[in-house]
Structure formats: structure tokens, C-alpha cells
């Protein structure tokens, strides 16, 4: 809880720093604050504290995901030096909005009442609507913002209608009370579960509710897209799983089949479309859709190992995405666009960047000894243990397709030449963050027990 307060206060403080023009202090203050928040969250480990008449529950699940969200944000902040300055003069609002969104994310992973789920999602989303459109003069950014807003608001409607129906069926918003209400057979309850699923699917870009994703990612500034792909997605899935695990687990026989269908749709929609992309940012956007499919697979395996699998997968995915988006930002800034051809010859001019990106896409593709491999392996394993053999076979086929398009960028970097490419300059923040990411991808790839044993 303390960590949530720190994040919220930090956001306000950052706004004031901007007001009084302490631009240089923004980054140090945010980073310190986030470190403090992460430390305070870690102090809550094993305490299982309830807050606000059972509205929020800081159990280990909440703590682990909170720390993940905070640390991912830290990594993104590490890349942000001199980034926002190029877009606008009011840098403070970027930091403040991202911190507000983070606060929303923390609420989303620690709710114990549907009201808090709604509020968390809204805090996160409203900040993001603004962030997506923050390049005010850029039509693409405008479009991204409007699309994200309309889709988001639309999805909120479904989520709320579902909430209302579940309230009607069970008489409570409290997750524990819902789980023990025994109203799982009623039509109201079932309709409610489905509608909430639709609403959440919009938020985490699960097909067929994913159509906004590539447009919004492409139109938003690179760093914001990175934030959406990592923090927002992690928070969304953590909330999704928390809701279905703590409230609807008993009714799993009923919703599992729907989740399975969504999972297949998402996997195929994401991967097949990604094959035809020739711009790296859109490719990453579609691949993020496909990763939502793998995560759904973990949700199907309701139970103890599902949360662990989702945690491992999101850690691996967030790390790899930070690296991939970060390098995409560098390349598109230096070479003018994020077309795959822009990556030609990167191995010659910037071996470190090429290596990092290779590692990142290998992790996304699930090649052994990277964190992503164990993530996929773990997810497949829990799904197989529940008997979803065919689903896993389809997921494996999709992993193959994934490898094909992820390798397109590797081919561009290592096997194609670009005669007039010059080396891209890295600032220290980038160098530090990318090195940390490389280290962690390897560490968690070789010793996955470090993260898989947390929960």
C-alpha cells in the first residue's frame, strides 16, 4: 500500500517540479521515488494485508506484479532522457502521466473488489489516452489517441455492464464474496462473466477485440508504445487473471471454452498478420497481440501455477519488449523510419545494439537459454497439465510462425548490407538499460528458478 501512495504522491510532486521548471530534477526524483516504491512493496511480502474494508488486498501476487510494473517503468524512464524533450517543452507531464498510469496499474494488480478493478483500469487508461495523443500536431498521434479513447471507453462500458450483472447475481462486488456466492449457474452471472471478459479483452488486446492495437502503437510515440506493450499489458493480464482466479475460478468449466477460443483467435490473428508487416513497430504491435494469446493459455490453467506462469511470461516479455522497442526508437530516430530495411547493416555499425535486439527477439520467439523460452515452456506445460493438448499444438504452430517473422529483423541486421549506414550514438541511459536487459534475459533464461519460484 505504501508503494501505491508513494507512486501517486510522486506523480503529483513531479507535476509541481514541472510547474516550477526544475526540469533537470525530474528524472532523478522519479527514479528515486520508484526505487522507494519498489522497496516498500517488497516490505509487504507475505503480509497479506487488506485495505479499505477489503477493497484491496496486498497479497504476494499483488506485491510481485507491483514490483514488476514499477521496475519496468524504471527501465522505461532510464531510456527517456532527452526523449520527451524532443517532442515537447512540458516534459513533466510525461513523467507525471506515466506515473499516474503506473498507479492505476498497481491498483489493477491488487484489487479485491470490482470497484477497485474499474478505478484502476480507468486511472491507467485515462492517463494513456493523453499520452497516446501527446504529439498534438501529429495526425498519426491524434488518430491513435482518438482510437484508443473510443475503444477504451467502449470496452469500459462492457466491463461495467458485466460488473453490474455479476453484482445482480451475487449481491456483492467483493471477490471473495462472489467466489463463495454459489450463483455460478444463473444466467445473469454467466452473462456478466462474458461481458467482463469482453471488456478486459479490449484492454489487453485479445482478438477479436484487438484491432486498435497496431494503430495505437504506431501512432503513439515509441516510448509510450513501449509503456503500453509492457506495463499496461502486464497490469491488464494480472488483473484478468486475478479476477478469474479469485472470483470466477469455480465457474471455470463455463468460461474456459470461451477463453480457449479467444486464445486461438488471438494467436492466429497476431502471428499471421505480423508475418506481412514490413515496419518494425507494427510488427512488434502484432506480436504483442500474439503474446496475449500465449498468456491466455496460462489463464486457462486456473490455479496456483497459472499466476506463476503469467508472472514468468510477463517478466520475460517485458524485458524483451523494452529492448526491442528501445532499439526501434534509436534506429527510427537515426535512419528516419522503422522500416525493416532501416535495420540493414546494423550488425556492422552497432554490434551491441544488433546483439541486444537479436537476444530480445530470440526471447520473444522463445529460443532456449533466453527468458522467453522458459516463459513459453512454462505456459505450455501448465496448459498441457490441464489437458489442452490441441490448444498447445496450435500455440506451437504459432510459435513457429513467430520465429519466422522475428528472424526477419535478424536477417536484416546481420545478412543485409547498408553501404551508407553510420553508427548510431547511444546515450548512457540507453547503454545502461540495454545492458541490464541483456543480463536479465540471460540470467532468467539460464536460471528460470529465480523468477518461477517467486509465487
Amino acid at each position: 500500500m505504501t508503494s501505491l501512495i508513494i507512486v501517486s504522491v510522486l506523480a503529483v510532486a513531479v507535476l509541481y517540479l514541472g510547474l516550477f521548471k526544475y526540469k533537470t530534477a525530474l528524472l532523478p526524483v522519479s527514479v528515486t521515488g520508484l526505487l522507494a516504491a519498489a522497496a516498500m512493496a517488497a516490505m509487504d511480502w507475505d503480509l497479506e494485508k487488506m485495505y479499505f474494508s477489503e477493497m484491496m488486498l496486498f497479497d504476494n501476487y499483488a506485491v510481485a506484479f507491483s514490483i514488476l510494473l514499477i521496475l519496468t517503468t524504471l527501465l522505461i524512464f532510464g531510456l527517456s532522457r532527452n526523449y520527451f524533450e524532443k517532442i515537447s517543452n512540458n516534459v513533466a507531464e510525461y513523467y507525471a502521466l506515466m506515473l499516474f498510469a503506473l498507479a492505476g496499474g498497481v491498483v489493477m494488480v491488487s484489487f479485491h473488489n470490482l470497484a477497485m478493478l474499474f478505478i484502476g483500469i480507468e486511472i491507467l487508461s485515462i492517463s494513456l489516452y493523453v499520452l497516446a495523443g501527446i504529439r498534438r500536431k501529429d495526425p498519426a498521434s491524434n488518430e491513435a489517441s482518438l482510437k484508443y479513447f473510443l475503444m477504451g471507453a467502449f470496452a469500459t462500458g462492457f466491463l461495467l455492464f458485466g460488473t453490474a450483472l455479476i453484482y445482480g447475481a451475487t449481491g456483492s462486488f467483493n471477490l471473495a464474496a462472489i467466489a463463495s456466492s454459489g450463483a455460478f449457474e444463473s444466467a445473469l452471472f454467466r452473462a456478466g462473466v462474458l461481458l467482463m471478459m469482453v471488456g478486459l479483452s479490449f484492454k489487453v488486446s485479445v482478438a477479436p477485440f484487438h484491432t486498435w492495437t497496431p494503430d495505437v502503437y504506431e501512432g503513439s510515440p515509441g516510448l509510450i508504445a513501449m509503456f503500453m506493450a509492457t506495463v499496461v499489458k502486464t497490469a491488464g493480464f494480472a488483473a484478468f487473471l486475478r479476477l478469474f482466479l479469485m472470483a470466477f475460478a469455480e465457474a471455470s468449466a463455463f468460461w474456459a471454452i470461451t477463453v480457449a477460443i479467444l486464445c486461438i483467435l488471438t494467436l492466429f490473428a497476431g502471428n499471421i498478420t505480423a508475418v506481412f508487416q514490413d515496419r518494425f513497430k507494427r510488427l512488434l504491435a502484432w506480436s504483442s497481440v500474439s503474446h496475449a494469446g500465449y498468456l491466455l493459455l496460462a489463464i486457462l490453467a486456473v490455479g496456483f501455477s497459472a499466476s506463476s506462469a503469467v508472472l514468468v511470461y510477463t517478466i520475460a516479455y517485458s524485458l524483451a519488449s523494452v529492448a526491442a522497442f528501445g532499439i526501434m526508437i534509436l534506429v527510427s530516430r537515426a535512419r528516419g523510419n522503422d522500416h525493416l530495411d532501416s535495420f540493414n547493416g546494423l550488425a556492422r555499425t552497432n554490434p551491441f545494439l544488433a546483439f541486444t535486439l537479436t537476444l530480445a527477439v530470440c526471447s520473444l520467439a522463445g529460443i532456449p537459454l533466453t527468458a522467453g523460452f522458459f516463459g513459453k515452456f512454462y505456459v505450455f506445460k501448465v496448459a498441457l497439465a490441464q489437458g489442452y493438448t490441441w490448444l498447445v499444438v496450435l500455440a506451437v504452430i504459432n510459435a513457429m510462425i513467430g520465429i519466422y517473422y522475428y528472424f526477419k529483423v535478424i536477417i536484416a541486421m546481420y545478412m543485409k548490407e547498408n553501404a551508407n549506414a553510420v553508427a548510431i550514438q547511444l546515450n548512457p541511459g540507453f547503454r545502461l538499460v540495454l545492458s541490464i536487459v541483456v543480463f536479465l534475459i540471460f540470467l532468467f533464461g539460464i536460471f528460470p528458478g529465480l523468477i518461477a519460484n517467486i509465487l
Binding site: S305, P351, T389, F407, I411, Y414
Partner: protein, 543 residues
């Protein structure tokens, strides 16, 4: 740290050293790599000498360290061990790998650009290949198996010929296609097998090979038929893993990546590809497919033997038609590896021993052959057979080694391939009377393959090396085509001696593996037969 871990991780240590060395020491990289390979060969010698040949049916040099241990709540515990060891089946292949690596390291002298990357990847692949032959934990095996792919992808894709991107991706996707589905079977096996001591689910391959450890009613349980979409699960599991390794071997019709990869790959990579990677396919089939699913192996034996025959004949016929010398050798590899499959399918000690010797022998011979092609290609950047005539008088030493390699490959008595192919065919021939698995005509068809290989090798010899000297490049080529250099001697001579030695004293090899294979074949056949009888699959695949 025991010998096996050392042989695996030595390259990794030197890989780090190469990465840390600044680029101005780039001349050192190749010496470091060569030094690593020679050290590994030394360790391989130690392993050979210390290997208890009488007890080769058991695993030796065992190492077991817990690696990934997780609690999965209601699903029990996930336990993955770093578990290594060699027996009579893997020891010869491990030693072969060390030898081939030295040859590949020497032939890497031709690499001139981006040497840091090349040698780093080379050493990484080296480590992974050694690991594949020693891993006894299925998960660990898979990690090494996949780890070997990525460096190879880059080595072909970055240092290869003009169509390298296509060849590299094709190779990569083919192999991966097999292996990702293998992963599913691995997980299925994991849920089917428990550790007899602790009772936990396990990836331990030794436990998987013992039918007593299967959980009754689990997916791959041999006691009761479980079906997946109407197909018995064990047959399906076997087929999936078999396809994964058959792509590697390669078995016709899954072989099409091989000619492309060979043509585009630089010489050292061709050597490793033909000398070692194909062996991993054969090793996997015997150790994993046959070891874990003996009943399915028996069930499919006719089919596997048939694939072997098809590979032998199809590969040989294709080789006959090739104009590119490297492609010719690539197809001859397909043909020779067909014998391996045939030998395994026969379920006889002779056949299996012959097949294993064939793998070792082909490892040595294909190293020589690809190295010889590389010698020619490095000099004039051409390797089309019609472009050369009468090389014999122009490069006598070179021609001598070509003749050794060709004659050894076509199965001339006195060389290793003769013993190997003879044993394989004997095994196949006996199969009908011993266990009734393979019909006799398969042995006859196999010997037809030897005849065809004699045809294409001798024809090539005649076209390229005999007659009056005439090159397409004219005078310029005559100047460039100088005879063997010292480092080329250093590769070719030991290889030629090795194949001769194995041909004259095959016991050098058979002592290492015989008791292991004899026991293994016997045991596999019996357990397989028992399960097959108790399961009563509808036997519609044996015609």
C-alpha cells in the same frame, strides 16, 4: 568438474576470452579456437582410454546437479537436472565430434571477415554439440539441441554463399519445425514418468527408458493405450520425435534443406553439418525414439527400414545427376545416412553396430570430402564438375586424397565404410529370420545403393581427375590450382589414417560400443515386443 563438463564448457570459456580480446588481436582467434579443439580432442582421448569397455552398457562419467527446481502447487514439482553421462552409444560420437572439430577449426583458416563473430559462434556451437551427445536429462538435451541451431543459422547466414539467407532460414525452420513439436512430447513424457526414488515427475531420460517408471494411465503409459484423436499416443509421440530427428538425419523426403545448406555454407560449417549434425539425428533416433518408445519403434520398423532404403537409393540417384561437386557429396550423405536408418530398423546387434560405425565412418569421410571440395573452391571459387579435367596430373597429392576419400566412401574393403555397410546389410538380411521385421529385399536394395555410389564416385573421378588437363579458367586457374598446403595435409592425413585404421581394426570401435549395443538391442526388442503384444495396435502399417 569432471571430464564431460570440461569438454562441454571449455569452448564456452574460450568463447568469453575471444569476446574480451580486442579486435587487433584478431589473428589470435583462430589459434585460440584450434587450441580449444585440440584440447577437446585430448580430453576425448582421455575419455576413450578411461572408458570401461566391458561395462559400456551402463552410463559412465555421470554428473548430476540440480538445475531448475520449482514447486507447481497442485501439479507437483518441476525438477530439471544438469545430468550428463556417456555410454557405448554416445562415447564414439563424442570422440568423433572432438576429432571433426579439430578439422573444422583448421579449415576455418579460410574465414577472413568478421572473425570475432565467427569464432565466437563456432565455439558456442562446439559446446552445444558436445552437450547434445552427453545430456541425459531430456530438457537439457533439448536446450543443447536448440542452442546448436542458432549459431549454425548465423554461421551459414553470415559467412555463406550468395543464397545464404534463404539456405539459413530454410535450414533453421526445418529443424525447428521438428523440434518444437518434440518439446510437446517432452512435456507429455514428463507428465508420464516418475522418479522411482522420489516419486516426482522427471525429465530424466534413463527413467523414461524404463517402462516401470511410467505412471499408469498417463498419456504415454505403455500399459494401457491412450489415444489422441484416435491415434495411440505412444505411436504419435514416437512419430513426432522421429520426424524431428529424421529432418536432421536427413531422411528423404525431409532432406531438401541439406543440399541448399551445404552449397551455401562455408567449408568448415559444411564439415560440421555433415560430420556431426547428421549424427545427432541418428543418435537421437536410437537413444530417444527407440530408447523411450521401443514398442512404437518395432511397430514402425518396416516403415523406418523402407525410409532408409528410399534414402539410400534416392540420394545415390540424385548424386549421380549433380554437376556441383558439393551437392554431389551432400546427396551422397543422404544416401549414406540411409544405411544408418536401415541398420537401426533391423533390431539386430550387427545391424545396429554397423549403423553406429557408419555414423562414425561417415563423420570422418564427409569431413574429408567437404574439406577436399573446400580446397578446390578456395583456389578458384568454382566447383562445377564439368569445369575441371585432368586434375590428377596437376595436383597429384590432392588427387591421392580424393581417391582415398572416394574409395573409402564407396565401400572399398580396408576402409571403415566397408565394415559399416557390410554389418548393416548383414543385420538387415538376418532380420527376417531373427525377428521377422525387415524383408530380405531391403538388404538387396541397400546393396544396390553401394553399387550406385561406386558409379557416381568413379564417374566423378573419371570426369574431373583423369584425361588431359583442361580447366574452364584456362591458364589463370592452372596457376591458382597449386597442390596441398601443409595445414591441409594436417587435416587430410589423420582423417585418411583414421578411416583406414577403423577399416582394418574395427575392434577399436566395436570394443567401445559392442556390449552396450548388444544389450540395448536385446532389451529394446523384448520390452517393445511385450508392450506391442499387450497393446494390440491394429497392425496396418506393416504391409
Amino acid at each position: 568438474m569432471s571430464w564431460i563438463s570440461t569438454i562441454i564448457f571449455l569452448p564456452v570459456v574460450f568463447l568469453v576470452i575471444i569476446l574480451l580480446l580486442p579486435s587487433r588481436f584478431r589473428e589470435w582467434y583462430r589459434y585460440i579456437t584450434l587450441g580449444t579443439a585440440i584440447l577437446q580432442a585430448g580430453i576425448a582421448c582421455i575419455i576413450y582410454l578411461r572408458f570401461d569397455q566391458a561395462g559400456s552398457d551402463g552410463f559412465q562419467f555421470l554428473e548430476k546437479v540440480p538445475w531448475i527446481h520449482l514447486s507447481l502447487g497442485n501439479l507437483g514439482r518441476l525438477e530439471i537436472d544438469y545430468f550428463l553421462g556417456v555410454d557405448g552409444l554416445s562415447a564414439p560420437l563424442l570422440i568423433l565430434s572432438a576429432v571433426v572439430m579439430v578439422a573444422a577449426a583448421i579449415s576455418s583458416w579460410e574465414i577472413k571477415e568478421n572473425m570475432k563473430g565467427y569464432f565466437a559462434l563456432f565455439l558456442l556451437m562446439d559446446a552445444a554439440i558436445m552437450g547434445v551427445f552427453c545430456a541425459l536429462d531430456f530438457f537439457l538435451f533439448y536446450v543443447f539441441y536448440e542452442l546448436m541451431l542458432l549459431p549454425l543459422y548465423f554461421l551459414i547466414g553470415m559467412w555463406g554463399g550468395p543464397r545464404r539467407e534463404y539456405a539459413a532460414l530454410k535450414f533453421f525452420l526445418y529443424t525447428l519445425f521438428g523440434s518444437v513439436f518434440m518439446l510437446l512430447v517432452i512435456v507429455g513424457l514428463y507428465f508420464s514418468v516418475t522418479d522411482p526414488v522420489s516419486g516426482a515427475y522427471t525429465f530424466n531420460m534413463l527413467h523414461m527408458m524404463d517402462a516401470a517408471n511410467f505412471v499408469p494411465g498417463a498419456v504415454f503409459s505403455p500399459e494401457v493405450v491412450q489415444t489422441i484423436l484416435g491415434v495411440p499416443a505412444r505411436l504419435l509421440g514416437f512419430a513426432v520425435i522421429f520426424i524431428a530427428f529424421a529432418i536432421k538425419v536427413p531422411v528423404v523426403p525431409l532432406h531438401t534443406w541439406l543440399p541448399d545448406a551445404h552449397v551455401e555454407a562455408p567449408t568448415p560449417i559444411s564439415i560440421i553439418l555433415a560430420g556431426l549434425l547428421l549424427k545427432i539425428g541418428g543418435y537421437g533416433i536410437l537413444r530417444i525414439c527407440f530408447g523411450i518408445f521401443p514398442d512404437s519403434a518395432l511397430y514402425f520398423s518396416w516403415f523406418i527400414g523402407m525410409l532408409g532404403v528410399i534414402s539410400i537409393l534416392y540420394g545415390a540417384l540424385n548424386a549421380l545427376a549433380m554437376k556441383d561437386l558439393k551437392k554431389l557429396i551432400a546427396y551422397s550423405s543422404v544416401s549414406h545416412m540411409g544405411f544408418v536408418l536401415l541398420g537401426f530398423a533391423s533390431f539386430t546387434t550387427e545391424g545396429t553396430s554397423g549403423a553406429l560405425l557408419q555414423m562414425v565412418s561417415h563423420g570422418i569421410l564427409s569431413t574429408m570430402l567437404f574439406f577436399l571440395v573446400g580446397v578446390l573452391y578456395n583456389r578458384v571459387h568454382d566447383r562445377f564438375i564439368p569445369n575441371f579435367r585432368g586434375l590428377a596430373s596437376h595436383m597429384p597429392h590432392y588427387t591421392a586424397f580424393v581417391m582415398v576419400a572416394f574409395f573409402a566412401s564407396l565401400g572399398l574393403p580396408g576402409f571403415s565404410a566397408f565394415i559399416a555397410e557390410a554389418f548393416t546389410l548383414i543385420g538387415t538380411f538376418n532380420s527376417q529370420s531373427v525377428n521377422g521385421l525387415l524383408p530380405r529385399w531391403m538388404a538387396i536394395a541397400g546393396s544396390l545403393g553401394i553399387l550406385l555410389s561406386a558409379a557416381y564416385f568413379l564417374w566423378t573421378l573419371q570426369r574431373m581427375f583423369f584425361g588431359t588437363t583442361r580447366f574452364r579458367g584456362g591458364e589463370a586457374w592452372s596457376k591458382q590450382l597449386i597442390d596441398l598446403r601443409p595445414h591441409e595435409w594436417a587435416v587430410l592425413l589423420p582423417m585418411a589414417l583414421l578411416t583406414l585404421m577403423l577399416g582394418i581394426f574395427p575392434s577399436l570401435f566395436f570394443d567401445l560400443s559392442n556390449s552396450a549395443l548388444a544389450n540395448m538391442v536385446q532389451e529394446l526388442f523384448e520390452t517393445g515386443k511385450r508392450h506391442l503384444d499387450s497393446l494390440q495396435y491394429t497392425n496396418n502399417l506393416r504391409f
